[in-house]
Amino acid sequence: MNPARLMTTTEAIDPVFMFIFGACLVLLIGITAAMLYFVVRYHRSKAPEATSKAEGNLWLEIIWTVLPTMLVLAMFYYGWSGYLTLRNVPEEAMEVTATARMWSWSFSYANGVTSPKLYVPVGRPVRVNLVSQDVIHGFFLPAFRVKRDVVPGMKNHAWFVASKAGSYDLFCSQYCGTSHSAMISTVEALPEAEFAAWMEHEKSGEEQKEHPGHELLEKHGCLGCHSEDGSARVGPTLKGIWGRSVTVETNGAGRVVIADEAYLRRSILEPGADLVKGFPPIMPPFTLKDDELRAIVQYLRGLK
């Protein structure tokens, strides 16, 4: 079980693609060519009457039942063995936990470091444990042919190994609502030494903690929809929210309110109660503890 060099997921999957594509191409060309030939050769202008009344042929039926059966069984077999590579995580794999929420990713490492991008060392297999905080998401790395759904309440995982340094796309593949297509990140594959340096840097960065309110916004995924820098996203920006006068719709009637503590709390606990004009009614209600709410409100107060 310890091959000299680890087979990457891409190396396991691509030959299966080639095999099935090749077989399909041969079949498709065969069918098309036969049809075109018959249509031209037996066109009514050349063949005014049918010259055969054949209603079937047992041998032909047997042949074109048995041969395709053998072919698809071969496809099944290769497909299955490639899949096993995706499922058998190499023992020496490094563990990372990917947390998905509407609509952002966060990756946390064994030593507590977290990052919005998935940093990995080149050449070391990585096992990604998949955790969802809300709905089903999909962890998709096209370059590595890896995909696994991130299902709330389930312990799914995936693994891959980057054999070259570089930046690779990471998509959410399972539809998860308004900003599904913005729920993208990257895998940053760094040479081992650079990776270690990055990790060191992040660890020391952990010391100078951010405001706990900001951490909560990050943790609950609020920043997936609300920016802190004034830019418009799916939801209104949080920059300068405190004291802003907001036009909202309450039970279908428009009114203007000043964003104070009561308003902010209500907007988090019952987002449907006051809908900000110009934004879709899509924010899910959050159940937060009172001290969390207090920290968030306090943070938003200072977010100028």
Partner: protein
């Protein structure tokens, strides 16, 4: 059987009621068939408009015409309309009703009033779905698959839409029961099972799927409503529920539903190809039997929609294996159709061109399905535009093109007038080109990793998306020409008389347009459906 008895009034004239009531309360299978044709085709055009909007939005990265929430609602409504309001009800409802009773030699279906009720249930369900778009929290944004937990949390009007689909389900069940009974009980003397036209055979297989699978959809949808309205927590892991359970339930219905869409299409093709080749169908028994095999084995493969979901590897093994097994009967059909052409006398009129392009497009769809059936490769392309391309090849290139073939083949018979041939060929050429440009490109996009249901995408996908959108316009241009041509031809074209293509099934032996009672007297069937020599001989 063509003889010169005094003609009966055509079903267009003969009616006790007047105005619209003569249609919407008629129990004549032909009128109900036309009602289905107009309503399902109307929804098809609605769906096409939505699809074109999707493509315009995707023409370039970033916002083009709508925002993300609107885009999500658009593809949801596009999918729901195309699946539940067009492709599932259209074949049995429209052509099944129009043609099948005549093909078996009956005066009507077994339960004409139930038939009318089916149409009404369909319309009521469709109206409820439409209402859901404009009321409550706005148009559903879940995708046509309504996956929980998202569908249980979103603020949009999912409950009402799901209720509409639930009602439409009953329409399908009743149609299925009606057709099974008709085919068993109302066949004319001499219409033995091995003389049944293959279109009717395919409807028979379809009807069983409708009757057996649709109740599962109904239950699943009720559970989604209970989840939303009563908070039952059946699918919520925080309360001991399981989101994957929903996916199993949904696909236990929705995979067999694919066969409700494709089997009748295969039936149409099996009827058209022999007529335009003047040669009996090759392998009649194999084609009829493979319909039943597909209907039965197709009920056991739903798990191939869930290879990445986290279900057990054993389940992946079994479902992948069974999926490959179901591919075989479809392949057998393709080989038999192609062999029917051999040494025939082939005429390439509009119905035949659509039928032949069905074989190609369906083959591309089916072969790309092998990529999806193999566990290793499915993981990469699952939930990408590869899948979107794949199912459009099967549902649109397959069922859709077969539907167009059926329109060009049977509608002149029922309207008594014919369309112009040249514009029909032009429309076909444009649609075939545009179609491949659109959906083949989407499959390539998926191979490159572009996920589906993506409002926005990275710049690396831009040029192929532009190409696909251009393809959608060529396709749309062909569609417009086809429609205008059919509309003008069937209303004011030259009269369509007798049996110009020389079909041997019973619908070609009745008057044009058929009389209300279909046959002057109960027919006695003396030859097989593709026995072009035996026709007319006693």
């Amino acid at each position: 059987m063509s003889n010169a008895q005094p003609p009966q009034a055509s079903f267009w004239n003969d009616t006790g009621r007047s105005g619209i009531a003569a249609w919407i309360f008629s129990t004549d299978h032909k009128r109900i068939g036309l009602l289905y044709l107009y309503s399902t085709f109307g929804f098809f055009l609605t769906g096409v408009l939505l699809g074109l909007l999707l493509r315009i939005e995707l023409i370039a990265p970033g916002r083009t015409i709508v925002g993300p929430q609107t885009y999500n609602a658009l593809f949801t409504v596009h999918g729901v309309v195309m699946i539940f309001l067009f492709i599932l009800p259209s074949f049995p409802g429209a052509f099944g009703n129009l043609v099948m009773p005549i093909q078996v030699g009956a005066r009507d279906v077994a339960f004409p009033r139930l038939n009318l009720l089916s149409w009404w249930l369909y319309i009521i369900g469709a109206v409820i779905v439409l209402v859901s778009l404009f009321t409550g929290g706005g148009a559903p944004d879940t995708g046509w698959t309504f996956y929980v937990p998202f569908s249980a949390r979103t603020g949009t009007n999912v409950s009402l839409a799901v209720f509409g689909v639930f009602i439409i389900g009953f329409s399908a069940i009743l149609t299925g029961l009606n057709f099974i009974t008709t085919i068993h009980r109302l066949r004319a003397p001499g219409m033995t099972w091995d003389r049944l036209p293959l279109f009717t055979w395919s409807l028979y297989a379809t009807a069983w799927v409708q009757v057996l699978a649709t109740p599962i959809l109904a239950i699943t949808l009720v559970l989604v409503m209970a989840e939303r309205l009563l908070g039952t927590g059946l699918f919520d892991p925080a309360r001991g529920g399981d989101p994957l359970m929903y996916q199993h339930l949904f696909w236990i219905y929705s995979h067999p539903a694919v066969y409700i869409m494709i089997l009748p299409a295969m039936g149409v093709i099996s009827d058209i190809i022999p007529v335009f080749s003047r040669k009996p169908i090759f392998g009649y028994k194999m084609i009829a039997f493979s319909s039943l095999a597909i209907a039965a084995a197709g009920s056991l493969v739903w798990g191939h929609h869930m290879f990445t979901s986290g279900m057990s590897d054993t389940a992946v093994l079994v479902f992948s294996f069974l999926t490959f097994i179901v591919a075989i009967p479809s392949a057998i059909k393709v080989f038999n159709w192609v062999s029917t052409l051999y040494r025939g006398s082939i005429s390439l009129e509009a119905p035949m061109l659509f039928a032949l392009s069905f074989i190609l497009l369906f083959s591309i769809g089916g072969l790309s399905g092998l990529i999806l059936g193999a566990a290793a490769t499915d993981v990469h392309v699952h939930d990408t535009h590869f899948v979107v391309g794949h199912f459009h090849y099967v549902m649109f290139g397959g069922s859709g093109f077969a539907f167009f073939a059926a329109m060009h083949y049977w509608l002149p018979k029922f309207y008594g007038r014919r369309y112009a041939e040249k514009p029909a060929l032009l429309a076909w050429a444009l649609m075939f080109t545009g179609f491949n440009l659109l959906y083949f490109t989407m499959q390539v996009l998926g191979m490159k990793g572009m996920p589906r249901r993506y409002y926005d995408y990275l710049p690396e996908f831009a040029s192929l998306n532009l190409l696909a959108t251009v393809g959608s316009w060529i396709l749309a241009a062909g569609l417009v020409i086809m429609l205008v041509n059919l509309f003008r031809g069937l209303r004011g074209g030259v009269p369509f008389e007798g049996n110009p293509w020389g079909g041997a099934t019973l619908e070609w032996s009745v008057a044009t347009p058929p009389p209300t009672e279909n046959f002057e007297e109960e027919p006695l069937v003396t030859h097989g459906p593709y026995d072009f020599e035996g026709m007319g001989k006693p």
